[in-house]
Amino acid sequence: MSPYEDLIIDHWRHPRNKGTLPDPDVDVTEANVPCGDVVRLQLKVRNGKVEDVRFDGRGCAISMASASLLTEMLKGKRLEELEKMRQEELLEALGGVIKPRLNCALLPFRTLRKALEALGETGSRVDPPSYR
């Protein structure tokens, strides 16, 4: 298995849902400090469903491809479904990730968990985009 399946290269070169939303219900940022990878995730929620999603950030091919792929998995999903989502689902969707790079692949998943927690607590949370 190559650690860089075509799927990863494709999502890295052509990220889906990249950018920012004008009025997100949640806007959170997570980072892998040692490698400098940063993922910002924004969700627009309506009737308990993810209506729209954007990610932004910088980092290695695996973390960025993972973020891009994750946004595709989120769109249209109910929040309860996302609460139950396991990290393995993302790793499988990526076609498997080698051990030393799990942290990179899972950064977007941790960002999603942070977003769900924020939604659970207050119904919305918008962090200032301070990572720039």
Partner: protein
């Protein structure tokens, strides 16, 4: 230099179906069979605690341990009682920051470091400055990645108590002018601490020529085992400093409410020391002395030259640090345009090539370079020109795939 690859068992293995090309000796060096055997032989034939047994086995173990100290002293031109065994460079520098800090650093004093320091030669001084109310300041580098000596002179003052500087940068590879730094620092009464983790393994070092007051290095980067390092210091300063760790071995007389300290170097070696590791390090020093440190340096300068030429010839590569191999150790940090270093390291690993990618425990330096991380290839006695070729060709492959 003679081909030494046969002495290093690990180099015979494959990684991901390819022969291992190990280009991460700046992180830790591979071990020759002579070192592995010395450690095994010690445990098989001579294991006992040191300095207390009245029986033959303990006397033998003590002799082996103390012989290792003598070999290290000879390697760096020091006296054996000035050679203190620690757990590694990090512990050596922490010992200094505590003990020397206690003896010599007062509120308002200056502590001078450089922006190219490994965190191990930065954080202990940061913490000391915080504890004592001293002022920490960092010497800048030039655009070529050399120490800015004018900036050094500007920051140096009569209030400067300690100058802590790396001999060779573990990222830029820069060889710093320690004799000049020592002269200038001593002129204002400051003491000089040298982080020699990246220099002792790779070039001839004589503490008298460097003119510094303290020198710290690790065993595992110089073909020896992990878990052992060295702090060398001038006798009169070590005498003046209070102990760092306390307990057994470092004491002379003990009462319930007080104690007196053992002689050097034992005053700084509390508890049972890393005996087998010292024996292994002694074997490593012997191995390096057999090759000749001048030869080691010549070999690495040649490989570093090939590495730099190859990287310079690739327009997609950005190199950090001096461009001339004479000005640097065998460490080259670089980036491929627009590609994260972790991706580079992962793809090279697929070809059996081991390099380091990350901030190399030098975050302030990377912030200065304007990158979150970098790739780093480093060479040692067992690397060959053919391996540099393989590495450069594999880099082209990475660029084809991700560039």
């Amino acid at each position: 230099m003679r081909n030494v690859r046969g002495d290093f068992p690990v180099l015979a293995r494959t990684v991901n179906g390819h022969p291992l090309v190990y280009l991460d000796s700046a992180a830790t060096a591979q071990k020759p069979i002579q070192v592995i055997e010395a450690i095994a032989r010690f445990y098989r034939e001579a294991n006992a605690n040191v300095h207390r047994g009245l029986y033959a086995l303990s006397v033998e173990a003590t002799e082996l341990y103390e012989n290792a100290r003598k070999k290290i002293a000879a390697l760096i031109g020091a006296r054996p009682e000035e050679v203190i065994f620690t757990r590694g460079t990090t512990e050596s520098l922490n010992l200094l920051a505590y003990s020397l800090g206690e003896a010599r650093v007062r509120e308002g004093d200056g502590i001078l470091v450089t922006v190219m320091e490994h965190h191990a030669n930065l954080i202990p001084w940061q913490e000391l400055a915080r504890r004592k109310g001293a002022a920490l300041s960092a010497v800048r580098i030039t655009p070529d990645g050399e120490l800015d000596m004018d900036d050094f002179r500007r920051r140096l003052s009569a209030r400067t108590a300690v100058v802590a500087v790396t001999h060779i940068s573990n990222v830029l590879g820069t060889i710093n002018p320690i004799p000049e730094i020592s002269r200038e620092a001593h002129r204002v009464g400051a003491l000089v601490v040298v982080d020699a983790a990246q220099s002792i393994p790779h070039l001839p070092v004589d503490v008298r020529e460097l003119g510094c007051d303290f020198l710290a290095f690790s065993g595992h980067k110089m073909l020896g085992p992990t878990g052992i390092g060295v702090l060398w210091g001038r006798r009169e300063l070590l005498e003046e400093m209070p102990p760092f760790l306390t307990g057994g071995e470092m004491i002379r007389e003990v009462w319930i409410d007080r104690a007196t300290w053992n002689d050097l170097p034992y005053k700084f070696e509390a508890g049972t020391p890393p005996i087998a590791q010292a024996v292994g390090l002694g074997a490593a020093v012997e191995y390096l002395a057999g090759l000749g440190m001048e030869e080691v340096r010549r070999h690495e300068e040649e490989l570093t030259g090939l590495l730099l030429e190859g990287l310079k010839a690739r327009e997609y590569v950005e190199i950090y640090g001096p461009r001339e191999p004479q000005k640097r150790g065998g460490v080259v940090a670089f980036n491929l345009r627009g590609i994260h270093p972790h991706d580079v390291a992962t793809l090279l690993d697929q070809e059996g090539i081991a390099i380091r990618a990350g901030h190399h425990c030098a975050q302030p330096l990377h912030r200065l370079l304007g990158v979150p991380a970098s790739c780093r290839a480093s060479v040692y006695v067992y690397n060959t020109p053919e391996e540099i070729e393989l590495f450069l060709a594999a880099l082209d492959g990475v660029w084809e795939q991700l560039g």
